[in-house]
């Protein structure tokens, strides 16, 4: 007997969760900047996947999750201006900088975080998918269902406004 190529099998489903759970959660976190909200949305997204498991093949599951997450985020009318709270920075590899340098570095990080929080949601999502998730433009275009050209535009605009905000302060 052929195993149906959908995600209704519990094993398949948890495999998909292991593969994409964090990615989708990060994606939602880039959008809303709120862990609790990202938790809710990622749960809803996987529940939607389960409810539609017969219609979704294994290969389609990832894009299904992105699409659903995207739509659910848009449906959340009441998302106020987000304040991203990034976790501790990665420990510096080199430990021998002067205190002055470290302080400046810290201030710079702080300003960048604020600036990222002030980006528009589409710019921030594209920018962080690229920078934190290491996604190529083509992947971002696929996830957001836009053209690569549009991704380039968002990246350019994001960088321009980040720079403006950091250097003018």
């Amino acid at each position: 007997m052929k195993i149906p190529n959908n995600v209704c099998e519990e094993k398949t489903f948890s495999q998909i969760y292991n593969d994409y759970g964090e990615t989708i959660w990060n994606f939602l976190y880039f959008k809303c900047g709120d862990s609790a909200q990202a938790d809710d949305l990622v749960q809803d997204a996987f529940i939607k996947l389960w409810q539609n498991c017969k219609k979704v093949t294994r290969e389609k599951a990832k894009s299904f999750l992105y699409t659903v997450s995207n739509n659910m985020f848009l449906n959340q009318v009441a998302h106020h201006k987000v304040v991203l709270q990034y976790a501790q920075l990665q420990p510096q590899k080199v430990d021998t900088q002067s205190p002055q340098y470290l302080l400046e570095e810290k201030q710079y990080h702080q300003r960048l975080q604020n600036a990222i929080a002030n980006l528009t949601e589409p710019q921030r999502t594209a920018f962080l998918l690229n920078r934190i998730e290491g996604k190529k433009y083509a992947e971002i275009a696929e996830i957001l269902e836009i053209s690569v050209k549009a991704v380039e535009k968002r990246m350019s605009h994001a960088l321009a406004s980040l720079r403006k905000e950091i250097e003018e302060i």
Binding site: C8, S14, Y17, N18, G21, E22, W25, N26, Y29, F30, S35, D39, V42, Q43, F46, I47, W50, Q51, C53, K54, Q85, Y86, A87, Q88, L89, Q90, Y108, H109, L112, Q113, I116, F127, L128, N130, R131, I132, G134, K136, Y137, E152, M155, S156, L159, L162, R163, I166, E167
Partner: protein, 304 residues
């Protein structure tokens, strides 16, 4: 031009495909070097920890086995479809099958117009129903009891009764259909009457009586419209029991007849005065009556 090139290089850099030479070109431009710094710094940022297990448990607790959830969902769909069908059907009834029913009680008469301005007089204890919205396509109505029609010329006009149906194009005619008696009087034009498997033509000034689906009589009529419209019931050689039935329709009375031989009656009675009406019926037939409230007692006249 140069800016376009650098923008292109920047995207190559962000995509991880820029060569070391290209990176050096970018770094030489203060704007692009600060872009690179921003990009590199942002790269070192991290999102908070994804609470993988907690979220999975939360999802698992909300999941239902799809093999169990399916029937319920499809049942829900069935309910939705059923509800939609009911709504549509009710709407359909309201919109397209808006049947109008007009009825009269004992001692009540009604006069009204049909949608094509044909006139209807409805005698006591009778009922007419028709579909007003489809009237223009099909002039057809159902009748129980007795009614007089003045039909506007036009398409076929049919009156359906439990005993048969009457079809005309445009005339004045009276239809009586009660119990086993089916009687049609044509005052103008030509009426076609169908009962059981027979169809007869009733020309103006003629009436036919069909009793128990058997045609029994075809006779002339003298009046231009039925007398009941003028609040009088007229009979020609009609069994007394039928006359009394009509009397009971015109007056809210409880009729008690004692030892009365069923005779035939020719004459008429008014619908306006019970005393006068009873006298018109009783006198020719040598009967007496007493009225006590709603009770009317009929008995044979004692021979003096």
């Amino acid at each position: 031009m140069e800016k376009m090139d650098k923008e292109h290089l920047l995207h190559k850099y962000l995509n991880g495909t820029a060569t070391p030479e290209e990176i050096i070109t970018l770094e030489a431009d203060p704007t692009y070097s600060s872009y690179i710094k921003i990009a590199n710094t942002a790269e070192s940022f991290e999102t908070p920890m994804f609470r993988e297990e907690d979220n999975f448990n939360a999802i698992a607790s909300k999941l239902v086995d799809p093999s169990k959830v399916r029937p319920i969902r499809s049942l829900k769909v069935i309910y939705r479809v059923a509800a939609a069908v009911v709504i549509l059907f009710v709407g359909y009834l309201f919109i397209s099958d808006s049947e109008t029913t007009i009825s009269t009680q004992i001692a009540e008469k009604k006069e009204f117009m049909l949608p094509d301005a044909s006139q209807v007089h409805l005698n006591s204890q009778s009922q007419i129903s028709f579909d007003g919205n489809k009237w223009n396509q099909k002039r057809s109505l159902k009748l129980e009891g007795e009614a007089f029609f003045k039909v506007h010329k036009g398409k076929l006009f049919s009156v359906k009764t439990s005993q048969g149906f009457v079809q005309v194009l445009g005339t004045r005619f009276n239809v009586f259909s009660r119990d086993s008696l089916f009687s049609i009087k044509c005052y103008e034009g030509l009426v076609s009457v169908s009962y059981s498997d027979t169809t007869v033509q009733v020309p103006a000034g003629t009436m036919i009586e069909i009793r128990n689906q058997n045609r029994i009589e075809k006779s002339k009529i003298a009046t231009a419209s039925p007398n009941w419209i003028a609040n009088e019931s007229t009979f020609q050689n009609v069994s007394l029991s039928l006359v009394l039935e009509e009397l009971k329709r015109q007056y809210p009375i409880n009729l008690i007849s004692q030892n009365i031989v069923d005779k035939n009656f020719t004459g008429s009675f008014t619908h306006k005065d019970l005393n006068v009406a009873l006298r018109s019926i009783c006198d020719p037939l040598q009967l007496e009556f007493t009225i006590q409230g709603e009770d009317v007692r009929l008995y044979a006249k004692k021979n003096n």
